[in-house]
């Protein structure tokens, strides 16, 4: 039997194991902490800040903060909800997100997060940046209009595919996802079977020719809000 670490999330006791982050322990306990850049298979880096929680009175990203005995975590508070809404709101206005004709609609984590947080329309002014599309690869399409700079593709290419197809270039509002080539994705060793082609939370990196093949009603977030799959674990535990 390993050691059990006891801490609380919003006043409810949670049991975790040594080495777990708040996010991992919360997921196992069926407590959903909103997130965008986090993906279980990748090393967390806390870049989107959506998973920010209050740990013993101080803000920390739940995906990177290890748990500790007696830790007090605030997750579902009005103040944090407001912060998360603002963060997601800014992601929308910093890009060109036209959900109405985006093929990722219904399967998009950003859109689903906005619905879950109750964002009906952005409150900040749209920036309408000029972004490049890279359609050069026969099987993969990059639409930087929708990129939220989560870095999943960068990490997946390096850590899961053993390649280095993607990386960031530029700083601040000029930061963008780039490919490891002089010009286009087609000049890289990217392959449609790469994990990097599957991990994008939005519609920025897509597999070509299959858009809209899943009908409305059958898409990932058509029936249940994002995070339901985690919260259902708690329901199952309560029932059992």
């Amino acid at each position: 039997m390993g050691q059990t670490i006891k801490f609380t999330i919003d006043g409810t006791e949670v049991n975790g194991r040594p080495g777990q982050t708040i996010m991992e322990a919360a997921d196992e306990a069926g407590v959903y902490i909103p997130r965008l850049c986090y993906l279980k298979e990748l090393t967390p880096h806390g870049s989107c800040r959506v998973c920010t929680v209050i740990v013993n009175g101080r803000p920390q990203t739940a995906c990177t903060q290890p748990i500790a005995d007696g830790m007090t975590v605030e997750n579902n508070t009005p103040e944090l909800l407001e912060h998360r809404k603002n963060l997601v709101d800014m992601l929308f206005v910093e890009g060109n997100h036209f959900c109405m004709f985006c093929e990722k609609s219904g399967n998009c984590e950003l859109q689903a997060m906005a619905y879950r947080l109750g964002i009906l329309a952005p409150k900040y002014p749209f920036m309408f940046p000029t972004c490049e599309v890279d359609a050069s690869h026969p099987d993969i399409f990059i639409d930087r209009n929708r990129c939220i700079l989560c870095g999943r593709c960068v990490q997946a290419s390096k850590d899961l595919d053993g390649k280095h197809v993607f990386d960031f270039v530029g700083r601040g509002v000029h930061k963008k996802i780039a490919v490891d080539a002089e010009a286009k994705l087609v000049d890289t060793d990217a392959d449609v079977r790469d994990k990097a082609a599957e991990v994008c939370p939005v519609g920025a990196i897509l597999k070509k020719h299959i858009g809209f093949s899943v009908p409305i009603g059958k898409r990932l977030y058509d029936q249940k809000p994002i995070g339901s799959e985690i919260e259902e674990k708690k329901m199952t535990k309560v029932k059992s």
Binding site: M100, F101, K208, H209, P215, I216, G217
Partner: protein
């Protein structure tokens, strides 16, 4: 007489027409109409901003051109993209699911056009008080008719929801097929109210027919004029609203061209640009811009087809044709009658489809040899809709040309405005709301949609301007 001595009256916007139109009438000192123009002042630019987008996105993107008939744009683009992926020979299930979507669209859009937008003019008279001459007035005075209108529209919308996933702006058609079939439960849901819809469709034809026959003397010249008629028909000459070959007849019914593969439409159709409107003016090349313009839509379709392949609509077509002894009917207000004949045809087709087990098939998509440039056509509620695309080797749209139904009817609508203005406004010392509405009635006979034709960025302020015979602005009303 120089234009300096003319008075300009601007009617803006055209109410109960989706989008913004502006009618300007140039009067002389005797208040006689010298010139009448329907301006389309919105600019949408879809043809430009879809450039660079991937081809499989286009059927969903362009459906946003319209909230009344998005299915038409969705299907026209999908038909074009079918050819891009070499999948134009759809599986039986895919074609029938799309047809069900299309007939559902035709049914709901025609019901909206006739009952919600046009029936107030027909039921209360063109000069009736605008406070009652609207859909609320219809609901108060003719509640059963209003319920029928709402339920018919709802039925068509349900057929769209079942086939496209949503009632408005769905995603059902994808390049080479569809993304879903129709389940037994969904079929039975539509079958439940089918008989009622057929009965209401029969009565809708009767209302439009009775109105036309009863008021024939007053409407036969109302905004009417001789024109060519264009649309597509099946290879055997039957009306087909989903697929066919182009046929054009002149005002007397003589064939201008027939069974033309619409992939070659540019050999037969050209577009003229005029400086005072964002909307182009299409015409038949062999006749030229001056006399080569044509009508499209229900009137043109009933005029050009040899028969309708559903029994009740065919019986109504024969009765309609008898009015003009088999020749094309050129009465603008006859659009309503033919629109309701198409409603009956659509519900008969829906009945056929709902009893076809192919709807439950699972073979949904087919693909073949890739193409770079294609045309997709469909008979939309308001008329023939052309979508023409070129796709580059990276699967991005390189060129798009959309000739929407309203654009095809541009010159006919201008002709109707001219005719009505000359007949009803000339010499009158006062321009009343009822008189101005005569113009709107004529436009609405063709089309409640103007915005889609210029593909509209934002809301424009409403403006009514009045100029005296010397060209001086004497009044302007602005509503933001």
């Amino acid at each position: 007489m120089s234009d300096e001595n003319l008075k300009r009256i601007v009617i803006e916007p055209v109410t109960r027409v989706e989008g913004h139109g502006k009618v300007s009438l140039l009067l002389d000192e005797q208040n006689c109409v010298k010139q009448a123009r329907l301006h389309i002042v919105e600019f949408r630019g879809f043809e430009r901003f879809i450039q660079g987008r991937p081809y499989w996105e286009i059927p969903v993107t362009v459906s946003r051109l319209c909230g009344i008939c998005p299915v038409s744009h969705h299907l026209a683009a999908a038909k074009a993209m079918d050819r891009i992926v070499g999948g134009e020979k759809l599986t039986p299930t895919a074609e029938k699911v799309r047809r069900l979507m299309h007939y559902g669209q035709m049914f709901q859009s025609h019901a909206l056009h006739f009952f919600h937008l046009c029936s107030p003019d027909l039921l209360f008279g063109f000069d009736a008080d605008p406070a009652i001459r609207n859909v609320i007035g219809v609901a108060e005075r003719f509640p059963e008719l209003a319920v029928q209108a709402v339920m018919m529209r709802k039925y068509g919308q349900e057929a769209i929801r079942i086939t496209a996933g949503k009632k408005i702006h769905g995603t059902g058609a994808i390049p080479g097929g569809v993304n879903k079939n129709v389940s037994i439960e969904e079929r039975d849901f539509l079958l439940k109210d089918l008989d009622q819809m057929i009965k209401w469709s029969r009565s809708a034809v009767q209302i439009a027919k009775d109105y036309t026959v009863k008021h024939l003397n007053e409407i036969k010249d109302f905004g009417s004029f001789e024109s060519n008629h264009l649309g597509f028909v099946r290879e055997d000459g039957a009306m087909d609203l989903y697929h066919g070959n182009l046929r054009a007849l002149d005002a007397e019914g003589n064939v201008i061209f027939d069974q033309v593969d619409y992939q070659n439409y540019l050999d037969y159709i050209a577009e003229e640009v005029k400086p005072w409107s964002y909307m182009k003016f299409p015409f038949i090349k062999s006749i030229g811009p001056e006399k080569g313009w044509y009508r499209v839509g229900p009137l043109a379709r009933v005029n050009i087809c040899d028969f309708i392949d559903t029994p009740e609509a065919e019986k109504e077509r024969k009765e309609f044709k008898a009015l003009t002894k088999g020749k094309p009917n050129n009465i603008t207000m006859a659009y309503h009658w033919t629109r309701m004949i198409e409603v009956l045809h659509s519900i008969e087709k829906i009945k056929e489809l709902l009893h076809d087990r192919d709807l439950q098939g699972t073979d949904l998509v087919v693909k073949g040899k890739r193409r770079d440039e294609t045309v997709g056509l469909i008979e939309a509620p308001r008329g023939t809709l052309f979508h023409h695309y070129r796709v580059n080797k990276d699967d991005q749209i390189e060129m798009a040309n959309l000739i929407v139904s309203t654009t095809n009817n541009n010159e006919p609508m201008n002709a109707a405005v001219r005719k009505v203005a000359q007949d009803h406004l000339s010499g009158k010392p006062e321009i009343t709301e009822g008189l101005l509405n005569h113009i709107e009635v004529a436009i609405r006979a063709y089309d409640p949609c103007l915005s889609c034709a210029t593909h509209a960025l934002g809301q424009m302020p409403l403006e009514v301007s009045l100029y005296d015979h010397a060209g001086n602005l004497v009044d302007r009303k602005v509503k933001s």
